[in-house]
């Protein structure tokens, strides 16, 4: 029993330590964003919310925040509309294509963002599809980044629900393919879909390379704004980072709550 208690303590220590290490920079940033000034002392000289007030009344920040939100939501909407039917078709009608899809969805990861953005600039810089500098290219590009997250999470979910038997049962009970898909399959994919959306959202919301290279200041997103503000007050920037982090945290929490309620 004693040995158990010891190893238990040891395991807890490791976890807490890891947690601390990951939390430390964040805690520092939080403190810095709340400090009136903090330079040559161990602790900040005073606490204030003025940086947050300044941040949240800055129109350029609010615009960047809104634009980030718009681009992310747009990309995720596009991916839901395209990937859900795709997954359904692959798993229900052409299960053999799953292997091919697994390779395809790795492509956005296989090519480094800097390389692919150069390619995208060439392709969409001029000509009939000139989209560089507009949010549209970001939506399209973010779609490809979201693809692997969405595809994997929903595939796992699909494999857990025995798609074929559910579809067969629904059809024998008189449901058309559409009815079976919407009434039976889709509600059971809610969990996987939520996980995929959250994961992709927090990833895309913090995306910088594509946003900076493809669009830059012409349609400023949150990370690009942060980069452009790098020479201004560190307190202000810390408030920005903490606000951004808190937003993603709250969103995750809300989504988890919504997900739990109905089962």
């Amino acid at each position: 029993m004693r040995a158990d208690g010891h190893s238990n303590l040891y395991h807890r220590m490791v976890v807490y330590l890891l947690f601390m290490i990951m939390l430390l920079p964040l805690a520092g940033t939080l403190l810095y964003s709340l400090a009136t000034s903090w330079s040559a002392s161990l602790l900040p000289s005073g606490l204030t919310l003025k940086w947050y007030v300044a941040l949240w009344s800055e129109p350029r920040f609010l615009a960047a925040f809104g634009q980030s939100l718009l681009v992310c939501v747009g990309a995720l909407l596009l991916s839901v509309v395209l990937i859900l039917p795709l997954l359904f078709v692959v798993h229900y009608h052409f299960p053999k294509l799953d292997a091919l899809m697994n390779v395809l969805i790795l492509l956005p990861f296989a090519v480094p963002p800097v390389v692919s953005s150069v390619g995208l600039l060439q392709l969409y810089g001029s000509g009939p599809m000139a989209m560089v500098g507009t949010p549209w290219i970001l939506i399209g590009c973010y779609f490809t980044i979201a693809l692997p997250f969405m595809y994997r999470a929903i595939t796992n979910n699909l494999q857990a629900i025995n798609l074929r038997d559910l579809m067969d049962a629904a059809q024998l009970l008189g449901a058309s393919t559409w009815q079976a898909a919407f009434l039976v399959v889709l509600p059971n994919l809610r969990k996987g879909l939520m996980v995929a959306l959250l994961l992709s959202f927090s990833f895309l919301f913090g995306e910088f390379v594509f946003a900076n290279l493809l669009v830059g200041t012409r349609y400023e997103t949150l990370q690009v704004y942060l980069n452009n503000m790098r020479n201004s007050s560190g307190h202000f920037n810390s408030a920005l980072v903490i606000s951004y982090f808190a937003f993603v945290l709250v969103l995750t929490w809300v989504a988890n709550r919504l997900n739990k309620d109905k089962t």
């Binding site: 038997d165 067969d168 049962a169 629904a170 059809q171 024998l172 009970l173 449901a175 059971n188 809610r190």
Partner: protein, 329 residues
């Protein structure tokens, strides 16, 4: 004219035939079992009847109507799956009501019918539960209720008991049979378990490699296998090659010989002498391996009392009921 009539049904998959020239007739209200080893085509045949798998050629008449061109939604056939296939996002009641919802049955009538069929499977008090809150046996009863509520013309059961443990399996098969009798519902049951087939069915179609090898009632199938496969699949037949059979019977035998283990009696001045090689206790039956004239026979004896037990190595005498001998091609 039979209620269900399958005529010259062909099905190929990726060039190799799953089954060919399947013909079978099923009467109204009959409980019929498709029995066979896995891969024999029995499940595919069932899915073809349901319309879930297209057939290459042939006809399936249900109540005089060819249903091959019909979609599964329009066939009026209910089906229960091995995996239950309950909708996880719906309660028991919503699951059962699904078919009625698709038929746009009025809410109050739907509710009454759902209640009625849930009572039939003894799950009236579980209406508000979700499938993940039920045991396997309960899930399968919900699935049965769900397929019965639309009053199908034909009920298909695809290995519905295979995922359940032994005790629940026995109970559920009696319940299924009782409900089927009560409703007079024509039913096709698919299984690889001979005990299920023998105890439940009015008639059994024994299938192997895409063919119906033998059809008949349980008694016929058990006592009169038509060929080697049938004899090997049903019961625990002693299958002897012609040489051993001739040696054992002391007369020339042209074909292989099948002898049921329980048709051999041990002890009391039998005409054959043998030696017990080993025995195993199966519960109500003791299964001996006895060596007679260089032939090893399996002999089943009812376990009446431990005083009758023959030890390994003991000399015994046997008699074989001559009417139970069966030559198979």
């Amino acid at each position: 004219m039979s209620f269900v009539s399958v005529q010259q049904l062909h099905k190929r998959y990726a060039g190799t035939p799953v089954f060919e020239n399947i013909d079978c007739q099923i009467e109204r209200g009959e409980f019929v079992t498709l029995l066979g080893p896995s891969g024999c085509g029995k499940s595919t045949l069932l899915r073809c009847i349901a319309g879930l798998t297209p057939v290459d050629s042939g006809r399936i008449l249900l109540d005089g109507q060819d249903i091959v061109p019909l979609s599964p939604q329009k066939r009026g056939i209910g089906m229960v799956f091995q995996s239950y296939a309950l909708f996880p996002n719906m309660t028991v009641e919503q699951n059962v009501a699904f078919g009625l919802r698709m038929q746009k049955v009025k809410a109050d009538e739907s509710l009454a019918r759902v209640r009625e069929v849930l009572d039939l499977v003894e799950l009236g008090s579980f209406a508000g539960r979700y499938p993940h809150q039920l045991s396997g046996g309960q899930c399968q009863r919900v699935a049965l209720a769900r397929s019965l509520v639309t009053r199908p013309r034909l009920l298909l059961l695809d290995e519905p008991l295979s995922a359940l443990d032994a005790r629940i399996r026995k109970h559920l098969r009696e319940q299924i049979r009782a409900i089927q009798r009560e409703l007079g519902l024509t039913t096709i049951f698919v299984t690889h378990d001979q005990e299920e087939a023998l105890t439940m069915s009015d008639r059994i179609f024994l299938m192997n490699q895409g063919r119906i090898v033998q059809s008949g009632d349980a008694e016929t199938l058990y006592t009169a296998p038509v060929d080697l496969f049938a004899a090997g699949f049903i019961g625990n037949y002693n299958l002897l090659d012609p040489d051993s059979a001739s040696r054992l019977l002391q007369r020339p035998v042209a074909n292989r010989l099948a002898i049921r283990p329980e048709s051999i009696t041990l002890g009391l001045n039998g005409e054959l002498d043998g030696e017990v090689r080993s025995h195993s206790l199966l519960g109500n039956v003791i299964r001996y391996r006895v060596r007679v004239r260089d032939v090893e026979l399996v002999v089943d004896v009812l376990n009446r009392s431990s005083a009758d037990l023959h030890a390994d190595g003991q000399r015994v005498s046997l008699s074989i009921d001559p009417t139970a001998l069966r030559e198979v091609a």
